[in-house]
């Protein structure tokens, strides 16, 4: 049974690493928002997995809280992008200009 948990945990951690890469490299704002959202979802999964692995089911409450906060955070970020047009402009500039996107 442990091996299943280990494999699942490894898979989630690899997915988290890919999400981090996209959040760091992401040329446009929307890539970053999506990457952060995915990272949060993976954190929720990881904590749920850890709860089952360690047999402490009260940790599931924390993963519920995380998913709620993840939702609120993404909505807030998207509201900001929608309201302030500076970010959308930035995204277009970043997407159009490959020089600007490699190190920010």
């Amino acid at each position: 049974m442990t091996i299943y948990f280990l494999v699942a945990g490894l898979a989630i951690l690899i997915a988290m690493a890919l999400g981090v890469c996209r959040a760091l490299l992401g040329p446009s704002v929307f890539d970053r928002i999506l990457a952060v959202n995915m990272f949060g979802t993976k954190a929720v999964l990881l904590i749920a997995l850890y709860a089952f692995f360690s047999g402490r089911h009260d940790l599931l409450d924390i993963s519920l809280l995380y998913s709620l906060l993840n939702f609120v955070g993404v909505i807030a970020a998207l509201r900001l992008v929608e309201r302030g047009k500076f970010f959308a402009n930035d995204a277009r500039v970043d997407a159009a200009d490959p020089e600007a996107s490699d190190d920010n």
Binding site: V72, A76, A77, N104
Partner: protein, 189 residues
């Protein structure tokens, strides 16, 4: 699995901290800060401190990220961090000394879960045996926080209330604040 989780989460944490330092895009910085506190909260879960993880997730990931985003929405210009290329040696020395002192301080910390460490040796047994009878609170953590350390908690609540009032006063103005870059004129309005 605990060790693997700890290692990977700490590596993520390091990567995230360096990325926050390196990135120029303030929006990305705010989002990465959210990820950073999510990772810290995950570490707290692995370290067997779910209540601290709750607090860290609610404050760090939820409120701080939203507040930073609201601040960014209020700033009209300057969504790129401006950093000078000049290296300053003073802050570096202060940081190194502070980090060295903190690492030096870790030698006195008792090991995790050690029975004869001062936190477990002195008052914990008293709290466990007498806490419920003395305070009448069924939850032991709540009994310690709200009764035995009541004044401490009162001070914390005062700090949080003051900070909340300040934030509400800043953000609740009818006219939106638009902070300008230095030297910029008003001709763009």
């Amino acid at each position: 699995m605990s060790l693997m989780l700890n290692l990977v989460l700490l590596v993520f944490l390091l990567v995230m901290a360096i990325a926050v330092l390196k990135t120029k895009h303030l929006f990305a910085m705010a989002m990465l800060f959210g990820l950073y506190s999510l990772l810290v909260a995950g570490l707290f879960v692995v370290l067997d401190a779910p209540d601290v993880a709750f607090t860290e997730a609610a404050v760090g990931t939820g409120i701080s990220t939203v507040l930073m985003l609201v601040t960014l929405a209020s700033i009209k210009d300057g969504h790129e961090a401006v950093s000078s290329t000049k290296r300053k040696i003073g802050p570096l020395i202060i940081c190194l000394v502070m980090g060295g002192l903190l690492i030096f301080g870790t030698h006195d910390i008792a090991k995790l879960g050690e029975i004869h460490s001062p936190p477990n040796d002195q008052v914990a047994a008293y709290y466990i045996t007498q806490g419920q009878a003395e305070t009448g609170v069924p939850n032991l953590v709540t009994a310690v926080l709200a009764s035995y350390r009541g004044f401490d908690t009162l001070g914390e609540v005062t700090v949080v209330l003051t900070a909340g009032i300040g934030v509400l006063l800043l953000l609740g103005q009818r006219r939106k604040i638009h902070v300008k870059k230095r030297g910029q004129t008003h001709d763009d309005q």
